[in-house]
């Protein structure tokens, strides 16, 4: 049996009401006990196999993270034949992530893809027929090319990949023919023609990746951080947007010392709103930590809402925050418009596109709908997209498609530089193989077969 204990989210993160975190291994029960208190005060160790218990998950500070139901399956009566704990969480994605984090901090290791199945197999729990459907393994070649991927992708995405591969193969055939059949009376593909076709393929892949990004959003949510100097009204805005008094609001600058998170759903897309500590040079240690955290929050977020105070002059700090935000999608929110304006709008427009500016008053609750509209625009785009199965694919598939696109773009460069055909050919073949891995297709004889059926070659 394996020595270490592994854990992973067993359900799809997202809108499902219950998320299950699975822990398997010798220490799984002990690990779960470290972060869990049952309502009945019973310890997990006392439970029989196949029992369930209700209670709370606590973090390091003793704060309740979520209400959960835990089920226990003891060795050998579990899927992996090891001790297995399942934590059924009710909270949103943020809570689930936090719990997973706690489980890992308590001594479990994040499972490799397919590792539960692998353990089940290794411990004689399931036969290979079952493995086949779930096999996700360690080695590069197989890693991205599993049947599960093909099954998951039975929809439009796999068709799309097939169609891109077809275009790619046609191109490779033309390029390879010009290498291996150099003396034949065949039409040699020109660099212009190659470039045209390869660019088309590149744009197709780009579209695909964009779709996947949307898929990722559907799955994991989108992170929005509210940032700005102290006391500009960040926490007030958060409370308005999430329609709850979650963050503490006071007239004292530097109130929020730690990021406060809340999920809301926009057209079914989970949006994780984060309030942050106001950013300024501070001598106060705790506030300083908070400020550092805010900078980290900027890094981690997909979208930034920069808040400035209408009633105060723009300072270098505001400008600095604006500049720091350039790398991400962002909105500038001018708050407290109920008060007399002291800001120079012309100056602001030097730093940010007018379209990205909204004026609101958190106090009077004006302009909030406009702010929400803007957030929606940035998260899900003007045209609302449907949450379709086809675009929900896993990270590795996305990475593979990205790699394929990189290869294609390398080919574009090679062609632009008029490198000899075998160089772009290598990039094209690499992309072709990568895409093949996603849909689980071997490439074997495709190329030569294509050449022979397309061209009249041979002596």
């Amino acid at each position: 049996m394996e020595e270490d204990t592994i854990t992973a989210l067993a359900t799809k993160a997202g809108e499902s009401a219950v998320n299950i975190i699975k822990i398997s291994g010798n220490n799984s029960i002990e690990i779960a006990q470290k972060i869990f208190k049952s309502k009945s005060q019973r310890k997990l160790q006392e439970l029989k196999t196949y029992s369930m218990i209700y209670g709370n998950i606590y973090d390091e500070n003793g704060d309740i993270i979520d209400e959960v139901i835990i089920s226990i399956m003891k060795t050998p009566h579990s899927y992996t034949r090891e001790d297995v704990v399942e934590i059924n969480c009710h909270g949103g994605i943020a809570a689930v992530n936090k719990i997973l984090d706690l489980v890992i901090k308590s001594g479990a290791r994040l499972a490799e893809p397919g590792e539960f199945t692998k353990r089940a197999f290794m411990n004689g729990r399931i036969d290979l027929t079952q493995v086949e459907a779930i096999a996700d393994i360690i080695y590069a070649k197989t890693e991205t090319s599993l049947k599960i991927a093909a099954n998951n992708l039975k929809g439009i995405l796999s068709q799309e990949i097939k169609s891109i591969r077809k275009d790619l193969l046609d191109l490779i055939i033309d390029v390879e023919a010009s290498i291996d059949f150099t003396e034949e009376d065949i039409e040699i593909i020109t660099y212009d023609e190659m470039l045209k076709r390869v660019k088309f393929i590149s744009s197709k892949l780009k579209e695909l990746i964009k779709n996947e990004e949307k898929g990722e959003i559907v799955k994991n949510g989108i992170k929005v951080a509210i940032i700005g100097k102290p006391n500009v009204g960040k926490s007030s805005l958060l409370n308005l947007i999430i329609k709850k008094d979650k963050a503490i609001v006071t007239p004292i600058p530097g109130t929020t010392r730690d990021a406060v998170e809340e999920i809301l759903y926009l057209n079914g897309i989970p949006v994780i709103m984060t309030d942050t500590a106001g950013i300024r040079e501070s001598k106060n240690m705790i506030e300083k930590i908070g400020v550092n955290k805010s900078m980290g929050e900027i890094e981690r977020s997909d979208i930034l809402i920069i808040v400035i105070d209408n009633s105060r002059k723009i300072t270098n700090e505001d400008i600095e925050i604006l500049n720091k935000s350039k790398e991400k999608k962002h909105i500038l929110c001018i708050n407290k418009i109920d008060k007399k304006s002291k800001i120079d709008k012309m100056e602001i427009k030097k730093y940010i596109d007018e379209k990205l500016i909204v004026e609101v008053s958190a106090l009077k609750n004006t302009g909030i709908d406009k702010l929400e509209e803007k957030i929606k625009d940035l998260t899900i785009g003007k045209d609302r997209f449907e949450i379709e199965e086809k675009i929900i694919i896993n990270k590795r598939q996305k990475i593979t498609i990205q790699k394929a696109k990189e290869s294609i773009d390398n080919a574009i460069n090679a062609i632009k530089n008029k490198l000899s055909q075998e160089f772009p050919a290598l990039d094209l073949r690499n992309a072709y193989n990568l895409l093949g891995e996603i849909i689980g297709e071997n490439t074997n004889e495709d190329i030569l077969n294509g050449i022979f059926s397309k061209f009249c070659v041979g002596k």
Binding site: K118, F121, M122, D127, L128, T129, Q130, V131, E132, A135, D136, I137, Y139, A140, K141, T142, S145, L146, K147, I148, A150, E176, I179, D180, F181, T182, E183, E184, D185, N417, L419, S420, Q421, E422, F423, A425, L426, R429, N430, E437, G440, E441, N442, N444, E445, I447, L448, I451, F452, C456, V457, G458, K459
Partner: protein, 625 residues
């Protein structure tokens, strides 16, 4: 009966390109070797095109040469033209092709064989392989004479139950006008070796004096000094031209009108022929939209008027062959000297062999060349060499020589043969080699001569030359990285004169050499660096490695990625049917091919990545983690 005169270490059956290499290897490794051939006048014959090399094939020849094979040397002695193919492309796909004087090649090769110690040449038609307890013991030739040996290498080409077809006429023959082997197939089948039939064909030859060359385009060879074998100095070779002409509407009409007379249509030939060598009949059927096909007119030798018609392969009845030939521009009055024909023959499924080319079921019985379902002199020769090496190493109780796909075309060839499902005679192409950019003709010596030396087929002097080259490459590399050019106006003037952009920061020679327009010798000369090296090819190697470094690294990266799978071995006794998770197709394929490694398994058509995953877990769990 067990006459000691009839006892050998190795017997090679057949003296074609595979057989010659195999016999030479064994005898050069001091094994007493008998080379049997049906007709002692037909050694190392080139029954089809009069050339050696070509795209993908010259890489094979270079590898064979680097390993200590014979083909390149004999070709260099007897060639009458040398041409660089893909000249405008990169070094990896540039290929040499030598036009050969066929008769000279035969005589030269026979001379080499006759003068190699330990090699006994003898005429004889092998009809039976002698086997005891699944171990080969020798052969029997027609007439009831027995020869005994510890290993047998079968290289019988197209001779097993050969059938020649011209129009509606059929002859039993190994090649036109030659004896065939009627009984050996049965002997092999009795041993459990499965065979099937392939077919191939050759064009008519015409009389040079009847060609109107003014209507053709002359195709001369290169005028620069070149070498076909690494071990020879570069020299300017004979340069006898070939000529190019084209078929036309009239040709195609003749064929279309008489297509029912073509054996491929009439049903006389139903076996698979190679797609890379289609008959003109086939081309007209399959590509009716094409208005012309090229025809290369190539000399069969220096002292003959016979000209080979590359591109006009046909086995139509002779009178139609004449019509077809005469319809082509420049050949209006051409006279056929010998007609084209098709030949059908037995080959063995190569998946019955190990990567050493030894039979999986009969120990010490090896197969090489066209009998393994390949086509081409070069493909045959490298197999003959590998079979000869491995037969010898086995008898000498030394570790086998298996070249991998990552290091050689030879590895690609043999791995493909054994792993892939093939439906036609196999020809090498550069596109078959996934690591094409690394497997160049120009570095075959650097890649492979270490093996030749270890085995004893490359001598110390030759190997020292390679080691010296390696060392000088390193020195020159370091030199280029160390020498820095400063952005002084004098230096930038030099760069401008080389049509290259000026530099703004100190830059080493290595970085400058990466620029496509910069050639290494110009660079060194123009900046006044005096760098003397013994081996001029060093410049070439360094230039290639520098200019294409990015791509070369990518390929090395790829190799690393897949090397794990190549390292995991699968026992030959592995029972695939026991494993539930595999698809039925995968089970069947894996069971019939019995791959040696997981890497090989992953290349079998019909075996999906999921199947490989299952095998991987299974093998890992078996090996007790």
């Amino acid at each position: 009966m067990n006459n000691s005169k009839n006892v050998f270490d190795v017997i090679v059956v057949g003296a074609g390109h595979a057989g010659c290499e195999a016999a030479l290897v064994c005898s050069r490794l001091n094994l007493k070797t008998l080379l049997l051939t049906i007709n002692i006048d037909k050694i190392a014959l080139m029954p089809c095109n009069p050339s050696i090399g070509g795209v993908g094939k010259s890489q094979l020849v270079a590898e064979l040469d680097a390993l200590g094979g014979q083909m390149a040397k004999t070709a260099e002695k007897t060639l009458i033209q040398l041409k660089i193919l893909n000249k405008s492309k990169g070094p990896a796909v540039q290929s040499l092709r030598a036009q050969i004087d066929k008769k000279a090649y035969e005589i030269e090769m026979k001379y080499v064989l006759e003068n190699t110690p330990n090699l006994i040449l003898r005429q004889g038609n092998v009809c039976n392989i002698l086997v005891e307890n699944q171990i080969v013991k020798g052969v029997e030739i027609e007439g009831g004479i027995y020869f005994y040996s510890n290993a047998v290498i079968v290289t019988t080409g197209t001779f097993l139950r050969g059938r020649i077809i011209i129009g509606d006429k059929e002859y039993k023959a190994g090649r036109m006008g030659e004896y065939l082997s009627l009984n050996l197939t049965k002997s092999l089948n009795n041993l459990g070796i499965k065979t099937d039939r392939y077919q191939t064909a050759t064009p008519p030859r015409i009389d040079k004096r009847t060609i109107d060359f003014s209507k053709t385009i002359e195709q001369p060879g290169e005028f620069e000094p070149l070498n076909f074998s690494f071990w020879n100095e570069k020299t300017i070779h004979k340069n006898i031209s070939s000529y190019l002409t084209y078929t036309n509407k009239k040709t195609h009409e003749i064929i279309a009108k008489n297509i029912d007379k073509s054996p491929i249509r009439s049903g006389i030939i139903s076996t698979h022929g190679p797609r890379h060598c289609p008959s003109i009949d086939r081309k007209v059927i399959n590509f009716p939209e094409k208005t012309r096909h090229p025809v290369f007119i190539e000399p069969e030798g220096e002292y003959t008027n016979e000209m080979y018609l590359q591109g006009l392969t046909t086995s139509m009845p002779i009178e139609f062959q004449q019509l077809i030939v005469n319809s082509v521009e420049g050949l209006e009055n051409a006279r056929i000297i010998r007609p084209g024909y098709a030949v059908e023959y037995d080959y063995i499924f190569p998946s019955q062999l190990n990567l050493t080319l030894e039979s999986k079921i009969i120990e010490n019985l090896f197969f090489a060349g066209q009998i393994n379902g390949t086509s081409g002199y070069e493909e045959a020769a490298v197999q003959g060499f590998i079979a000869g090496v491995n037969a010898s190493l086995k008898l000498l109780k030394k570790p086998e020589l298996i070249l991998t796909r990552e290091e050689s075309y030879t590895g690609v060839l043999i791995d493909d043969l054994i792993t892939k499902e093939l439906y036609e005679p196999y020809r090498m192409y550069t596109s078959r080699a996934e690591y094409r950019l690394l497997l160049r003709s120009d570095n075959a010596d650097l890649r492979l001569s270490k093996y030749g030396y270890e085995i004893g087929l490359i001598n110390k002097k030759q190997y020292d030359k390679v080691l010296n080259k390696e060392k000088e490459i390193q020195i020159l590399n370091e030199f280029l990285k160390q020498k820095v050019i400063f952005p002084a106006s004098k230096n930038n003037e030099i760069l401008k004169n080389m049509n290259s952009a000026v530099i703004e920061v100190p830059t080493n020679l290595y970085q400058i050499l990466k620029r496509p327009e910069i050639r290494i010798l110009d660079l060194l000369n123009n900046f006044g660096f005096d760098f003397t090296i013994k081996d001029n090819d060093v410049y070439n190697q360094v230039e290639i490695n520098t200019k294409y470094e990015g791509y070369i690294l990518k390929q090395l990266e790829e190799i690393k990625k897949y090397s794990n799978l190549e390292k995991i071995t699968i026992p030959q006794t592995f029972d695939y049917f026991k494993i539930n998770g595999l698809t039925f197709e995968a089970k069947e394929k894996l069971n019939s091919i019995k791959p040696n490694t997981l890497g090989q398994a992953s290349r079998i058509a019909g075996v999906s990545p999921a199947d490989i995953s299952i095998l991987l877990i299974y093998l890992k769990s078996k090996s007790g983690r």
